[in-house]
Symmetry: C2
Subunit: 413 residues, 2 copies
């Protein structure tokens, strides 16, 4: 692992000075290599799937692990999309001139070396590698042991792309071991050669990384997402957004977990919203008011308000107005994504200003909490910390900056 | 300390929702209170000075600790300057619309709770408190025990300002103990209630904070600053910049510590630059070429290239061109501030692009490495990390952001 860290640092220095066009050439060559290697990747994936079935992995994990020709084409297409994004490196973020004639620029530079620790999804190998490379960073990838063969085969295709663009292969290193000690070395920062860690996976992985990492972490532990139906708002609109926010996909971090309905709107909106959820197969755990609405509603416990179900379950509560809703969200929420549904512009602006979450929304499904949907061209994750990156972490968030000062011989008085 | 952390978090929430004008009112009232309390502050300072002299503190430390009516007026004026800066909070940093009609804004919000650990300078109490407040953050100040009485008196004036603007006094807490355990509690993050720590003081303080802090740190350990005379450049200009970079003030982090002179320029520029430094009382530690120039030059050791002297001492080396200079800076430097002197635009641009320091300069004194000189209206320090803040840390760097999304009922397909 010491060697991996040193090689990553050296490669990062070369990437930082490389042309954006060269990195894009590498990304396009990677896409071609992934398509050409489709058969080899599927063979490796079959090995992983056999082992996973023998180990008794559940159907959700098996699905995450499974590659198909279509999914492999999706991996290649994502590489091409990242290649097509504008080069973030060298962009002048701000420029100004001082009264003494000094011209100061703030310019985007790579962050350095990024560590990604992930679980069973083999596509992360390509996605994370490509996003880091795009921003001029070296990356150390540590995938889950379940997807070891699949990730190794994908990584081989990435190496072809780097070679064809004459970039160092050490730019994207895949930790060649199933040894758990490798994770510990990454959490310790690879002896100063790792600048940030991005965990991609379940809550226990993220918690371990957040607790043990000695370097900054881009992550969110929970996405306990709220939708607050404040009103006035048309029932049809509210129903559409609530159903989408909860049920479009229940396993993603932007999925709604708690529905808050304003007391003044409850007579008209509570029952139809709850029934729509129940009829669609969503379990509803409600407060006293909500339990009145339908016998299928079970009683919500204190824990339910703070739980990210990641399933077809929702907690529902009637609140006594905007302040009560904001208080509830600040108390139980996870500062990830929260939304208000209202045609009252003043209430909307207060919600946007006062809810302290990475993403706050008005009249939109919380499932838009995603780097791609934000127009970032992909994301390496969503961060709920307040440092450096917050919300979707795309290519721009994987950069740092420096100041470039141009003078004509100025001295400080 | 647990209570201090909790109170800071609660105050931070109030500050985050306060109007910028209210915080500015508080800052102006603080300035007035500092001026009105001048006598009480001087009395407290006299107590600290008596104790410091009895403890045998050196003249440099005594000078840093000493307040005068003029210095107190300077503290008040700095508060007024910070009040006059634009409010960073609520500023829209970027705004765009997605094809589906979602309007997305990235808006500046406070960072949260900032911890400042500093040594003997009592003015940091006011400066750091004011910069944090300006950006809507609560702050926990832990000053040096030598300046305890002075800082307590200044802090009392800040409390008057907060009260007059009806902001919570917990917005600026001064740790009321000389107990060293308080520092440990801050480094541990006050049980999740501290978001960042800023150490202000000597190398050992910064090293301890960087090694032990469990929260992010804005700091630089060393300012091993280089001036590289590449040429062509007029000798007069080079001499002016080099003398200013080294000797204007030798104790600040932007002071030059190593002078690199290009081989092709050495015949005309090396001797005059070295002699000017020697004649001004600066010790010169040189490589073989530099030792030939003047008998007063002593031999530089390997350590000298990596040392921040913070004194009238400079290491001088002849380098074999731009690549050699950049290699030297990357090997021995501290990624703080480095400058090239040249009229060759191509060489200048390569230096700006390839030297990986927080601040890179062309044809200007490195002593401009300062938030005030950058136009930031003051700084809480200079950071050499690559995360969040890099270079001078002013009011804007003490903020975070979130995304505000306005829709009309959009759902994700």
């Amino acid at each position: 692992m010491t060697q991996i860290g040193r090689r990553a640092r050296a490669a990062g220095r070369i990437l930082a000075l490389s042309a954006g066009g060269t990195r894009d050439d590498a990304l396009r060559a990677m896409a071609a290599a992934v398509r050409e290697s489709s058969e080899a990747i599927l063979t490796a994936n079959a090995q992983d799937l056999t082992a996973a079935r023998e180990a008794g992995l559940g159907p959700a994990l098996i699905d995450r692990l499974t590659l198909t020709p279509g999914r492999i084409d999706g991996i290649a297409a994502a590489l091409e999309e990242i290649a097509a994004l504008p080069d973030p490196i060298g962009a002048v973020m701000a420029a100004w001139e001082r009264p003494n004639g000094l011209k100061i620029e703030r310019v985007r530079v790579p962050l350095g070396v990024i560590g990604v620790i992930y679980e069973s999804r083999p596509n992360v190998t390509a996605d994370a590698g490509a996003l880091c490379l795009k921003a001029g960073n070296a990356v150390v990838l540590r995938g889950g042991s379940d997807s070891f063969n699949s990730s190794t085969a994908i990584h081989a295709a990435l190496m072809k792309g780097l070679r064809s663009a004459r970039l160092p292969e050490d730019a994207i290193q895949y930790v060649p071991t199933r040894d758990r000690a490798a994770v510990g070395a990454m959490l310790a920062g690879l002896e100063g050669n790792l600048d940030v860690i991005v965990p991609r996976g379940g809550r226990s992985l993220v918690a371990r990384v957040q607790n043990e990492a000695r370097v900054p972490v881009f992550a969110h532990l929970d996405g306990n997402v709220h939708v607050y139906v404040h009103g006035p708002c048309e029932l049809e609109t509210a129903r559409g957004v609530v159903m989408n926010a909860k049920l479009r996909r229940t396993g993603i971090c932007g999925a709604a977990e708690t529905l808050l309905v304003d007391r003044k709107l409850a007579p008209t909106h509570l029952a139809p919203l709850v029934k729509a959820l129940l009829d669609a197969g969503c379990a509803v755990r409600g407060d006293g008011d909500t339990q009145q609405v339908d016998p299928r509603v079970t009683a919500a416990t204190e824990d339910d308000w703070a739980t990210e179900f990641l399933d077809a379950i929702i907690a529902v509560k009637v609140v006594e107005g905007l302040d009560d809703a904001i208080r509830h969200i600040e108390r139980y929420g996870s500062h990830h994504t929260d939304a208000i549904l209202t045609d009252d512009a003043e209430a909307a602006e207060r919600f946007l200003r006062e809810v302290d979450s990475a993403i706050v929304m008005v009249n939109a499904s919380t499932q838009f909490a995603d780097g791609g949907e934000f127009g970032f061209g992909g994301e390496i994750g969503i961060a709920t910390g307040r440092f450096h990156a917050r919300g979707p972490v795309g290519v721009e968030q994987l950069t740092s900056f420096n100041y470039r000062v141009r003078g004509t011989g100025q001295t400080r008085p």
